[in-house]
Structure formats: structure tokens, C-alpha cells
Amino acid sequence: QQQVKQSPQSLIVQKGGISIINCAYENTAFDYFPWYQQFPGKGPALLIAIRPDVSEKKEGRFTISFNKSAKQFSLHIMDSQPGDSATYFCAARLVGNKLVFGAGTILRVKS
């Protein structure tokens, strides 16, 4: 019940295209949903986050869509760039700021 399921496992997008990564959860105790970006050899870095009482949040080219009733949320990367090529993790927060991560999506943006 504490899992966060993430798909797809990998994604190839053309430069300028839209990258979409999906996550689903079961535990209604999750109260915050961040997305992290990780480059090889680096630690994850926060990209954007959303609270469950909000259906959408946009920051620049990055948008989170959140569907509380379906217990699903997704990351959209508009105008994808080669520099966006990285591994993306969705996560969900439990009390005490403990994060449960999805398995990750390896994104490759072809120039």
C-alpha cells in the first residue's frame, strides 16, 4: 500500500515534443507529491511538487496534473530539450517528511 507505481520505465522523445510520465498510488495518507530529476552520478534534485488539493501546477515547461479520485498524477515536460535527458522519479510524502519513490523513468530527448 505504500508503493508508488511509475510508468513508463523509459521514454524517447524528439526535441520540442512533450514528455509524459505517469504515477499511481494507493495510500491516502500521502499528503505531498514531488517530482525529482536525477542525472548520472548525482543525487536527485527537486523539480516540481504538488499538494493533493490542487489539480494542476505549472512551473515553466514542467506541469504536474493531479487526479485525487483516481489516485494518479503525471509530469508533463513541454518543448522537451536534450538537456532534459535524465531519470525522473515521482514520489509521495508520508508524515515526518518520509518520501516513497517510484522506480523511475529514463528520459532521452533526441535532438
Partner: protein, 115 residues
């Protein structure tokens, strides 16, 4: 300013040995977390500290794993009698507080290889 730092960046040890992994959080951050990331997986929670005390150690896989944060800043993750299955990247993160919305900032990790 300086981010979260972890030492060593790489550690190779033999099965059965003892290892210590160090984390220096961002100055002023009261909360500190340890995660383990296996190849091709997302980080998996191990333990977190609020100040000097371990507030939640439910993610530690067994009693071979132990972590301390004696002065509320630097933390050390200790692994006794290492096993090959302990090989992973150990990530440390810190946040200003435990409040909702406080960002967890991750270090680059320590890659542990147990031969």
C-alpha cells in the same frame, strides 16, 4: 551555498567488513534522511533524524544497519558484517524542518560495493 556532501564518494569493501558512510547536511537543516538506491530503482527510505534523535528508523533492513547524528549536524551510517546485497548507492538528504513542503536536498551519494 554548500549543498549536502557525502564521503567517501565510492567505497569498495569485502564481505563481512564494517563500513561507515558520512553525511554533511546543509547548515541549519534540522532534518536529515538516509535513503538507499539500488541500480535501476528509486531511492528507498532507511531512516530520518530530527535533531539528534532518530525519529523513524523503520526502513533499516536489519540490525546490521545503524545511524547516528550525535550533535544534530553530521550523520554517519554504519553497516556491520557487510553482505553483497548491501551494494547500492547510499543517499543522504536534509531539509530545513519536517514541515509539509520543506524540500529534501540530496547529496551525490556514496556508492558502496561489497565484493
Amino acid at each position: 551555498g554548500a549543498g549536502v556532501s557525502q564521503t567517501p564518494s565510492n567505497k569498495v569493501t569485502e564481505k563481512g567488513k564494517y563500513v561507515e558512510l558520512r553525511c554533511d547536511p546543509i547548515s541549519g537543516h534540522t532534518a536529515l534522511y538516509w535513503y538507499r538506491q539500488s541500480l535501476g530503482q528509486g531511492p528507498e527510505f532507511l531512516i530520518y533524524f530530527q535533531g539528534t534523535g532518530a525519529a523513524d528508523d523503520s526502513g533499516l533492513p536489519n540490525d546490521r544497519f545503524f545511524a547516528v547524528r550525535p550533535e544534530g549536524s553530521v550523520s554517519t551510517l554504519k553497516i556491520q558484517r557487510t553482505e553483497r546485497g548491501d551494494s547500492a548507492v547510499y543517499l543522504c538528504a536534509s531539509s530545513l524542518t519536517l514541515n509539509l513542503g520543506d524540500t529534501q536536498y540530496f547529496g551525490p551519494g556514496t556508492r558502496l560495493t561489497v565484493l
